[in-house]
Amino acid sequence: MSTTNYLIRNARILGGEPQDIRVTDGVIAEIGAELAADGEQEIAADGLIALPGLVDLHTHLREPGREDAETVLSGTKAAAKGGFTAVHAMANTFPVADTAGVVEQVWRLGRESGYCDVQPIGAVTVGLEGKQLAELGAMADSAAQVRVFSDDGKCVDDAVIMRRALEYVKAFGGVVAQHAQEPRLTEGAQMNEGVVSGELGLAGWPAVAEESIIARDVLLAAHVGSRLHVCHLSTAGSVEIVRWAKSKGWDVTAEVTPHHLLLTDELVRSYDAVYKVNPPLRTEADVLALREALADGTIDIVATDHAPHPAEDKQCEWSAAAMGMVGLETALSVVQSAMVDTGLMDWAEVAERMSAKPAAISGIPGHGRPVSVGEPANLVLFDAQYRGAVNPDAFATRSRNTPYRGMDLPGRVVATFLRGDAKVLDGELV
């Protein structure tokens, strides 16, 4: 229970008219104009937009195993600074989160951190090796109550294993989140296969390597009547497949990362490995298709795929560098830049795609709720007027592998509340 109650003055809920929000004992107690103070700490939110706490369905917290890149504590601090009140920790840790023991460990570390809720994701197969199902039921029944399963970082490429996983998790309302990457078509792949890869002499990562797996998986999900979630969809062709699957009424959801909404493979011409990511940055045409799909709901959610790496894994030859970008602390700004400032989405739609829908896919309780009376006070106050250069040195994440260093991005998280507790105030961790 929170010790301090708050009265937030003149916040524009989902970008609407300014209103006051009274937060009492971790719950939104009252919303209205010019509420009378009742001993609360008052927060001037003039001009700020109030959103429900963001929910990230795809976060690499790196603990256990790669604490040099990130820990649950540093990652959840970064999440709070980015406006997130819940993150889903991917399973590709060392050891892999493929047992009840490991997912409970991550879950416990999240509880201890206190900056945001941590919902572990369980591996689909033992050691992410794609051969033998992990004990999905045990992870579901554990204290961590895992419902999302993913071998992310690797693709469940064996069609039979994928089929079984899709079927098996139905017993406990689970969902398989697929990292769609046909392994043979991407052996040694370094960047999007296109004009740029041909010129740069970097091994190409064809769009079809992603699309062929998504096509197979939506057909499998339809065949066995299961739920499928597609991670970090990155090509225009993938959008078409998901759109088709949804038109059939199949239970398929999809996510896009902030960086795939903003950046293209032209950046790779620098050979700066900060732009190396899996799936790779694609073309302008792909970026525009992804934006359109997120706006029209074909793509359900934005998920960061926050992937911290230490400097030495990025300041090296492109082919030797690790894949991934940090994203928690810039996600909302990038979405504003790509989707809101372009007129494609309003703030209510941002809340839908970055809070309500990811929470619904995961089934995580108490998150993704509307900003209304009686709901848990998971809230973000966001200054959409702000403009400034991204300064990675101010990040809370342990790693600095951001592609946005020095880039002018709009918007800034001013405050984040987790069940009424201020985790961020005036843009700083509390």
């Binding site: 890869s197 041909g198 010129e199 970097l202 050979y271 700066d272 090296c316 492109w318 082919s319």
Partner: protein, 327 residues
């Protein structure tokens, strides 16, 4: 001239002609009995080779010594590089040693550009071949060799000359560098390869492409055969060596299709019997040995120009003092 030589795409027509004309001067030095200039005396040039290439390293080393530079060979074999020292740490070490230029060979595409764009070292960076990206001094020596035969003369380019480049274009840094440079010099380039060995997006390159070698040979002024590694067939790029040679190898029948004056070139090392029949490689139509000799002159010219060669390479006085009479 820029400070680095990373890609032939960075060279303007004027840059390219300056290098070729300077190479002509350097070739004169190489023809003398005492093949040495004092130009880079007191300057340090590091040959940083992360990938074995005795022929390229030797060519650079000879060029550097003919310019009187202090030469350091820093090879991945037997150095800390093979123990996992990073490119960054290696660069910082070379910077501390006061390297004025670093000639880098690396199996990773982009490593020279990374080095040039970093603040790890301040000297000039010369790309001596990076992955499947570029090999600019090879393209320059190829262009120099072609110009000598097809349009000799200072200030001349290769306008209208037809060059056919055959083989594993996909994995070839030589092809990429040649396409840019030959286009800049006005030549018409045709790439010939099986479709599996054509790079994605090649239709956006400033050249023609063809799958039919015979047709591409009849009007060629020069044909450049690229090395094809036998292992490529294991990755299903082509079925067998025999089929590759039949469809894309240069044999006597194909040589007869070419005009009388057309040159046969190869960047080496050759796979005799694979992309080129041995007798043709040794015939008087082939300028392969000449390419090697020109390689030294081109590398002398590049280093001379990058390391602040504002003075003419050879003046009467420097030609005299170059005789190493000892001061």
């Amino acid at each position: 001239m820029k400070r680095h030589l990373i890609s032939t795409a960075d060279l303007t027509r004027e840059d390219a002609l300056l290098i070729l004309d300077t190479t002509e001067q350097m070739a004169q030095v190489s023809a003398r009995s005492v093949k040495k200039l004092p130009t880079l005396r007191g300057r340090t040039v590091v040959n940083l080779f992360f990938e074995d290439s005795t022929r390229t390293r030797t060519s650079f080393e000879v060029a550097e010594k003919r310019l009187s530079a202090d030469v350091i060979n820093f090879s991945a074999k037997g150095s800390s590089v093979s123990k996992g020292e990073s490119l960054k740490d290696t660069a910082l070490t070379l910077q501390a040693m006061g390297a004025d230029a670093v000639v880098i060979r690396h199996s990773a595409s982009g490593a020279p550009k990374l080095l040039a764009d970093s603040d790890w070292l301040h000297g000039s960076v010369v790309n001596a071949g990076d992955g499947t990206h570029e090999h600019p001094t090879q393209a320059l020596l190829d262009a120099f060799t072609m110009r000598r035969h097809l349009n000799p003369g200072v200030g001349h380019d290769l306008a209208g000359r037809r060059v056919t480049i055959v083989g594993d274009v996909l994995h070839s840094r030589v092809a990429r560098s040649n396409v840019h440079l030959l286009h800049t010099l006005g030549a018409e380039v045709t790439l010939v390869a099986p479709p599996t060995l054509m790079p994605f997006g090649v239709e956006t390159w400033p050249c023609q492409t063809s799958y039919d070698l015979d047709a591409a040979l009849t009007k060629a002024d020069a044909v450049m055969m690229l090395r094809v590694q036998r292992e490529r067939m294991n990755a299903a790029f082509f079925p067998t060596q025999r089929e590759y040679t039949r469809r894309y190898g240069l044999d006597a029948r194909r040589l007869a299709l070419m005009p009388e004056h057309a040159l046969v070139m190869h960047p080496g090392p050759m796979v005799r019997g694979m992309e080129i029949e041995s007798t043709i490689a040794d015939s008087d139509r082939a300028v392969i040995v000449e390419q090697v000799a020109n390689g030294v002159s081109v590398r002398m010219a590049v280093l001379y120009l990058l390391l602040g060669g504002s003075e003419p390479a050879i003046t009467t006085s420097s030609a005299n003092t170059s005789e190493e009479t000892g001061k």
